[in-house]
């Protein structure tokens, strides 16, 4: 399944990454090389195989619904690139 320039642009946007116009062709070629390599997996028929999602026991533990951490707003906001009025601040998104 070779991909085209449009797909590269689409995947870049889904990834929230920019691929400059003059890099799209090279990115596409690199992708296709990797995807062609990955397609060797199709040599094996897996129709009857269950996917493996986790190596250990699948059932997640339950715990009582208690607060285990909290009251640390200041610590959380300390790393924020911009914070105002005890909130994370972002560029204006609504006119």
């Amino acid at each position: 399944m070779a991909i085209d320039n449009e797909t590269v642009k689409k995947v870049a946007f889904l990834s929230r990454l920019r691929v400059e116009n003059d890099k799209i062709e090279a990115t596409k070629e690199e992708f296709n090389k990797i995807l062609t390599w990955i397609e060797e997996l199709n040599e094996i028929n897996t129709d009857e195989v269950e996917p493996l999602i986790a190596v250990n026991d699948l059932s997640l533990r339950m715990r009582p619904d208690n607060v285990t951490a909290g009251h640390c707003r200041e610590a959380i906001l300390k790393n924020a690139p911009a914070a105002e009025y005890d909130y994370f601040a972002v560029p204006k998104v609504v006119e």
Binding site: M1, I3, T7, V11, A12, F13, L14, S15, R16, L17, R18, T27, E30, F31, K33, I34, W37, I38, E40, L41, N42, E43, I44, T46, V49, E50, P51, L52, I53, A54, V55, N56, D57, L60, R61, R63, C72, A75, I76, K78, N79, A80, P81, A82, F88, V90, P91, K92, V93
Partner: protein, 487 residues
């Protein structure tokens, strides 16, 4: 001048501290001197000299009052993927180069609770994505075994392995998603173990591929790895994939008899064109175990050939999801994008903040998870993962432990063109290590000798789930026969 006391193993240093041959402050200062003299290796991203000296002073008080803990006063380096409270943690990425965690990872907390001293945060491939430490935002680490031209230390835990080899820490922490502890350990002539998935808590370790990531120690020898893993391992409520299984004292396995132990050699790990020196060392290691009464037999792991492609679907898929959190809003780097659309802020932040290999993997991962391609790539790879896992479970019906080389090559020069121009060439170095992560198994790399080019080679021992003990027992036997001459 190398400080003499830094050549001691952790076990020897503990004994010296107990006997008051030297103090923890003296030991820490000796390592700090080595670090200052070894700056050209670029092994540390952040040094925490002041914190280390305070911790060392506390350790001396503990020794004086008879309250010393298991690793009291032992100076360690921490891979900069473990969150350390109030100490900058970067994942070797521009996007986190100003991040100061308000909390401590469980593994590093365990080490602190046992009295360890933290010298600093060690360099790695950006977000642990790489096999040569060349993708770090902070520049490559230089392998201490380099001669005429600088060689890579392996990756992603390149700083962790190089710092141990150059005696810039007594031991270190690493993480291993596809070989990131074992490959650098092999390239730098040191010992490292990736425990069973679920053995060490992942809480506070910056996530790469959550179903594969596992923490483990790198140290000068097998006993030191046992001492460190004793501290690092254990159940943790804060990691939903942590396993509630008792952790044995791994040092209790050292020196145990291996008579009757069945060692499997997978025939698929000897492909045509396997480096002859590596093949010869592999045979030699098998002979050494046989001479001690182990039974060596050929086994088969039929889907080995597909492990790399499976890994390079699953790991990027999980990475693309894990790295979606870096948006420039809550922490980390934010691009200047005033007055623009919020999406523009995300795109600029991520494009400027992530390096090339990380962007490549995010995009591959996004593609294989996207509508229309999910079944063909991601689901297919999850099915292949089951077959690879089954291979090992079948093999372990016939043997107790598996012996293979760690890597198909020795350390290569920094900036090697064939690796940089074609990412697949770099990925192929993981051929002997990725299957083990896909199957969630424990595996250790220990030095077996030097290749003709004078560079170290590693052997890998793979154990049954949660049977690190057998690995330690076998590795200790092999180590005492190999008598590898450390740096």
């Amino acid at each position: 001048m190398m400080q003499e006391i830094t050549k001691l193993t952790i076990a020897e240093a503990l004994s010296g501290l107990q006997k008051k041959d030297f103090t923890a402050v003296e030991l820490t200062e000796a390592y700090l001197t080595n670090m200052a003299q070894g700056k050209h290796y670029n092994a540390y991203i952040t040094e925490c000299t002041d914190v280390a000296l305070v911790q060392a002073k506390n350790a001396d008080e503990r020794y004086a009052s008879g309250k010393a803990r298991a690793l009291e006063g032992i100076p360690l380096g921490i891979k900069d993927l473990f969150c350390t409270k109030d100490i900058r943690t970067t994942a070797a990425s521009h996007i986190l180069d100003n991040f100061i965690p308000p909390y401590e990872s469980t593994v590093t907390q365990h080490l602190l609770d046992d009295g360890a001293v933290f010298l600093g945060k060690l360099n790695l491939d950006e977000f642990a994505m790489g096999g040569s430490n060349e993708t770090s935002y902070f520049g490559p680490v230089i392998n201490p075994w380099s001669k005429d031209k600088p060689l890579v230390p392996g990756g992603s835990s390149g700083g962790s392995a190089a710092a141990v080899a150059a005696h810039m820490c007594a031991g270190s922490t690493g993480t291993d998603t596809g070989g990131s502890i074992r490959e650098p350990a092999a390239f730098c002539g040191v010992t490292g173990i990736k425990p069973t998935y679920g053995r060490c808590s992942r809480y506070g370790i910056i996530a790469f591929a959550s179903s594969l990531d596992q923490a483990g120690p790198i140290a000068q020898d097998v006993r030191d790895c046992a001492l460190l893993l004793n501290s690092m391992a254990g159940f943790d409520e804060k990691d939903s994939t942590s396993c509630n299984i008792p952790v044995p004292d791994y040092t209790a396995f050292l020196g145990k008899d291996i008579k009757g132990l069945v060692v499997g050699l997978p025939k698929e790990y000897r492909p045509e064109g396997l480096n002859a020196e590596i093949a010869a060392y592999w045979d030699k290691a098998a002979e050494m175990l046989k001479a001690r009464g182990a039974i060596v037999k050929e086994i088969s792991l039929p889907h080995t050939k597909y492990a790399l492609a499976t890994y390079y679907v699953l790991a990027p898929a999980e990475a693309s999801s894990n790295l979606a959190r870096y948006d420039g809003v809550r922490y980390g780097y934010r691009a200047k994008a005033e007055g623009e659309h919020l999406d523009e802020l995300y795109i600029r932040t991520r494009t400027e903040g992530f390096g090339k290999e990380v962007r490549r993997r995010i995009m591959i991962g996004t593609y294989v998870l996207s509508a229309g391609y999910y079944d063909a790539y991601y689901l297919k790879a999850q099915k292949m993962r089951r077959l690879i896992h089954q291979d090992f479970m079948e093999a372990f019906k016939q043997c107790d432990i598996i012996l293979t080389p760690t890597s198909p090559i020795t350390a290569f020069p920094i900036g090697d063109e064939s690796m940089l121009l074609n990412p697949i060439n770099m990925y192929l170095n993981d051929v002997f290590t990725v299957s083990i992560n896909l199957a969630g198994l424990p595996a250790m790399s220990l030095p077996i000798g030097l290749a003709q080019n004078g560079l170290p080679l590693g052997m890998q021992l793979i154990g049954k789930p949660f049977d690190e003990g057998t690995i330690f027992k076998t590795a200790a036997a092999l180590e005492s026969d190999v008598k590898f001459e450390r740096k």
